[in-house]
Structure formats: structure tokens, C-alpha cells
């Protein structure tokens, strides 16, 4: 329990009679990179949404650093260090890349905690701009700072989303299908970023592309029909007959 950073204890979520997540107990340890896999409709994203406060579980509890956060609003969880990305890239298309970055940095910046500064001072403060450009540069997109986000490729948007997530000072970073919709080159790029981040804070990845996840995570879990089927090292999990049956078995025979 000592190094457990995030713990879901017997959480259940139902939607109009359909149980999307059923009595799942799962923990994320500080500094580890863990993954959750499962076929479509297995309840992976719902489980993610429960951890991040998008949904409130019908049953069970969620703890963060030993403190119960089951009903804590999502913004409060973010401020405590539970940061997420979305399955469908979620950045602000009407803003420039820099403005997207600013919106996340302002929240963390000490200077903008003053109301006068937040409501009345120009957002284009040189220090803030520099800070944002530096952050964008970590993923090599600083040269696109003045471009409207809608003009970026899907992969670049994904990179921006990750830079934004990192700027929120995460203690646990939850990546919801980070490789969805990306080209092999882009997948390679994002994988390298995740590998570089490993160990700095806890990372939990929900993914459909199992081959990519196996290379990245230390621990893998399988969710099927809302229930946790198997958990262990990636090597152990992919050899588990139950996992083969519920996941690859179905895919291969189809």
C-alpha cells in the first residue's frame, strides 16, 4: 500500500442496466508504467473515466495517495496530479498551438494565481510565452506555436496533447489509446516519448495495439466485459490461455 499511488477498490459502473465495469480492483504504483488492454467494449475507457472523475462509480471506492477521491471532481484530481489524455485527441481547434499551451500553463503558473493578473493582464507575457515554447520544443513542435491547432496533423495534435498533459505536473499520467489513428512513424515517436518519461511518474496506458504496449509497460492487465481477467508481466499475460480466448482468440479466428 505504501507505494500505491492510485487505487480502485471494487468499482462498478452501470449504464441503464449494462454493467460496463464490474467490481474491478486495480492499483497503480508510484513510478511504474502499467497498461490495460482489452477488446472493444471491454470497459477500458469507462474504467479510465472512473479513475479521472469523468464518471462516479455506482459501487466501490477510489483512493489517491491513500486518500479517498471517489467523488472528487475531475478538475480537483488534475490539480492533485491525476492527468489524462483522451482516446480522440482533445485539443482546442479554434486556438493556436501556443494558446493551447498557455491555457494549461496558466493553471500551474504561480503568477496567474493572482486574480488581478488572471482577469486583467495580457496572456502574452514574455515569461509565459518562453515557458510554453520550451515545453513545445520538448516534442519538437515549437515551430508550430502560431499555427491554428486545426491545421495540425492528427499525430501533431496527439503530441500537443501529451505536452499539455506533461505541463500539468502529473504524478499519474493516464494515456487513453495514445496510438489510435497514428501512422507507424508517429507511433514510434510517441513510444519513444513514453519510454523517456518512464520512471519519472506513474503512467497508465489503455491501448488496443497490444504489440506496442508490451514493449512499453512493466505490468499489464486485461479487462474483458468489464471484469479484470488477468494481471502480471506482459510476457505472462500474453501467454495466459484465458486472455488468448477472450482477446486474441476471437480476433484471430474472425
Amino acid at each position: 500500500m505504501a507505494d500505491t499511488i492510485l487505487l480502485a477498490k471494487g468499482v462498478t459502473k452501470r449504464f441503464d442496466g449494462l454493467t460496463a465495469v464490474h467490481n474491478v480492483t486495480y492499483e497503480v504504483k508510484a513510478g511504474e508504467t502499467a497498461g490495460i488492454i482489452g477488446p472493444n467494449g471491454a470497459g477500458k475507457s469507462t474504467f479510465f473515466n472512473l479513475l479521472t472523475g469523468f464518471f462516479i462509480p455506482d459501487e466501490g471506492q477510489i483512493f489517491y495517495l491513500g486518500e479517498e477521491i471517489t467523488r472528487t471532481p475531475s478538475y480537483e484530481r488534475v490539480n492533485r496530479g491525476i492527468v489524462r489524455t483522451f482516446q480522440l485527441v482533445s485539443v482546442f481547434d479554434t486556438m493556436t498551438v501556443l494558446e493551447n499551451m498557455m491555457l494549461s500553463r496558466i493553471r500551474q503558473g504561480r503568477d496567474y494565481r493572482s486574480k488581478r493578473r488572471f482577469f486583467f493582464k495580457s496572456v502574452y507575457h514574455p515569461d509565459l510565452v518562453d515557458e510554453c515554447l520550451q515545453a513545445l520544443d520538448t516534442l519538437g513542435i515549437a515551430d508550430k506555436a502560431d499555427i491554428k491547432t486545426s491545421d495540425l496533423s492528427y499525430g501533431e495534435k496527439r503530441e500537443l496533447e501529451i505536452v499539455i498533459a506533461l505541463s500539468l505536473n502529473p504524478k499519474v499520467l493516464l494515456l487513453d489509446e495514445p496510438f489510435a489513428g497514428l501512422s507507424p512513424i508517429e507511433i514510434g515517436h510517441i513510444s519513444r516519448v513514453v519510454q523517456q518519461l518512464s520512471g519519472k511518474f506513474a503512467i497508465l496506458i489503455v491501448e488496443h495495439k497490444i504489440s506496442k504496449l508490451v514493449e512499453l509497460v512493466e505490468r499489464l492487465c486485461v479487462l474483458n466485459e468489464g471484469t479484470l481477467v488477468c494481471s502480471g508481466t506482459p510476457g505472462k499475460v500474453i501467454c495466459d490461455p484465458q486472455v488468448r480466448e477472450c482477446y486474441w482468440g476471437k480476433e484471430e479466428t474472425a
Binding site: P73, N79, E99, L103, F118, F119, K121, S122, L168
Partner: protein, 308 residues
């Protein structure tokens, strides 16, 4: 094109253009009428903060204008003859109504938000007309006579014109400051994807409430000035049927910009004041204009000029 970009980037230039525009417009036509235009533009600016910047369309914003108008009139009639105290009362009354209804309204969005505002507007209109008729004067409203304050004389149309113009410049300045600040970017974010803003660590409920109350306060300020301008407050100032006027003006000028709001406000008032001289059923023209805007100029007059 370069001039337009320069204008947009310089708040001082924007305020100078608005001031010069209204002074020229006022002294070349009718000061009394243009004072009315200016007050309406303040109302449009307040509405645009809610709709243009935060993306919440309200069908009942006349309630807040009416609250300011009646707050001012009631204060002047029953409490004090001090004009500025009466205006302050009107503004505070509008802010209070926003503060009371806001926590209910801002939990909703889309059609629900628009219609709930309309429902509250109708309740307010009914209260003024029937149950509170003894205080509000019912259909007749409240007639007043504002004498002035020290060296200021509000029966002088020129002084009233400049008071309204200074008020418009102040509100426009405040909104420019807001929209260029981190708060402005936050509003942009809420308009596009509120959930995402939540997941950046912002309590969006708080900022939506602040914006809603600011919008109602500005509308109430416009209401207070309307009472001062007309020397009366009557139920037409809180009539829900007139809520469409501010929506029309915002769309016409171009939502989400100070210049768009002012252009829209001035254009709407020009149409509604001057067109009836030539076309008896001018409202039909208004409907046609709205159709043209909806299909051809979705970003309004200012939006169109910017993109030329």
C-alpha cells in the same frame, strides 16, 4: 487588411474608433437617438460576453436589462434622488438576479440554457405587470424626473450622451482586458470544449458563473442608463419578446469581438429606427436580413470585414 489587423490588435485604437464614430454619428443625426444606440451597444457587449465568448445563447436576457431599469427607477422613486446611487442600485440588482439565477442556469447549456432564461424572463415580466404592480406601476411603469448631480444635469441631452459614451468605452475597455487575459482564453476553451477545460484543472462552474454574473451586470447597467435616458421604466424594458433584439444585433455584428458587438448594436438600432420610415412592416426585413446572415455571413459584418 493591414489596417484592420492593426485596429484589432490595439485596444486604444478600438476605443478611439468607437468614440469618434459615435460622436460623428450623434452630431450628424440626432443626439437623443444615438444615446439610445450607445446604451443598446452596452447591452450587446454584455450579451456577447456570454454568447460570443462563452458560447451560451440566452433567450431571456431582457430580464437583466429590466432588472437594471427597474432597480434604478425604484431606487430613485423610493430611496434616494441621487442619480448615481440609483444607477448603482440598478447595477447591483441585475448582478444579484444573475447571482441568484446563475447557479441554476449555468449547470445547463444549449437549448435548455436558452429556454430556462426565457422562462425566468417571462416570470420577471409577469411579476412586474401583475403581482408587483403596486410598486412597479404595472403596465404604466414608473415615471421619474432625474435632476442631476452637482454640476451634472441629466436633462441635458449632451451630458447624457457623453455619460452613455463614457460608460460604453468603460465596458468595452473592460471586455477587451478580459478577452486578452488568461480568463479570455479560458472562456474560449469553455466555448469549444468545457470537459477538456475541466481536465486542465479549472473549475469551469466558477468561471461560467463569474461570466454569467458579469453579463447580467453589464445588461443591468444598460438598463439603468435606459431609465435615465427615458426618464421612466416600463414593462417593455423587461419584455421577453424583445430578447431577440440583442441576439440579432450580436449575430449581425459578429459574435465574440468588441467591434462586432458595437457594429451589430449600431446596425440593429439603425434598421429599427430608420427603416420604419420607409417600410411599414420593417420586422419582415429584419427576418430576411437574419436569413441572409445565417446563410451567407455567418461571422457577421465585422467577421466578414476581417476576412476580406
Amino acid at each position: 487588411m493591414r489596417m484592420i489587423k492593426r485596429l484589432e490588435r490595439s485596444p486604444t485604437l478600438i476605443l478611439a474608433v468607437i468614440t469618434a464614430g459615435f460622436i460623428i454619428f450623434g452630431y450628424s443625426t440626432s443626439i437623443l437617438k444615438i444615446t439610445d444606440f450607445i446604451i443598446f451597444c452596452i447591452y450587446v457587449l454584455g450579451y456577447d460576453l456570454l454568447y460570443g465568448h462563452m458560447g451560451r445563447l440566452s433567450f431571456g436576457h431582457m430580464l437583466y436589462l429590466g432588472a437594471g431599469a427597474y432597480g434604478t427607477a425604484l431606487c430613485a422613486k423610493y430611496l434616494s434622488s441621487n442619480v448615481f446611487l440609483a444607477i448603482l442600485c440598478g447595477i447591483l440588482f441585475g448582478a444579484a438576479i444573475g447571482g441568484i439565477l446563475g447557479p441554476i442556469l449555468i449547470r445547463t447549456k444549449g437549448a435548455c440554457f436558452a429556454l430556462l432564461n426565457l422562462a425566468f424572463n417571462q416570470v420577471g415580466h409577469f411579476l412586474v405587470l401583475v403581482p408587483l404592480a403596486k410598486i412597479t406601476g404595472g403596465e404604466d411603469g414608473i415615471s421619474l424626473h432625474f435632476t442631476g448631480y452637482r454640476f451634472l444635469d441629466f436633462s441635458n441631452i449632451h451630458q447624457l450622451f457623453f455619460l452613455s459614451l463614457i460608460s460604453l468605452i468603460l465596458v468595452a475597455f473592460l471586455i477587451i482586458k478580459f478577452t486578452h487575459s488568461p480568463y479570455g482564453i479560458l472562456l474560449k476553451g469553455i466555448k469549444e470544449n468545457e470537459t477538456r477545460v475541466n481536465f486542465l484543472g479549472y473549475n469551469t462552474y466558477r468561471y461560467k458563473l463569474i461570466t454569467f454574473v458579469l453579463s447580467t451586470t453589464i445588461a443591468a447597467f444598460a438598463g439603468a442608463l435606459t431609465t435615465l435616458n427615458y426618464n421612466y421604466a416600463n414593462p417593455s424594458f423587461i419584455d421577453p419578446h424583445r430578447s431577440v433584439e440583442v441576439i440579432f444585433a450580436t449575430l449581425m455584428g459578429g459574435a465574440g469581438s468588441v467591434l462586432g458587438a458595437v457594429i451589430g448594436g449600431a446596425a440593429f438600432m439603425t434598421i429599427s429606427n430608420y427603416l420604419p420610415r420607409y417600410i411599414l412592416r420593417w420586422e419582415m426585413f429584419l427576418g430576411l436580413a437574419l436569413l441572409i446572415i445565417a446563410f451567407k455571413f455567418r461571422k457577421g459584418i465585422w467577421g466578414y470585414i476581417r476576412e476580406i
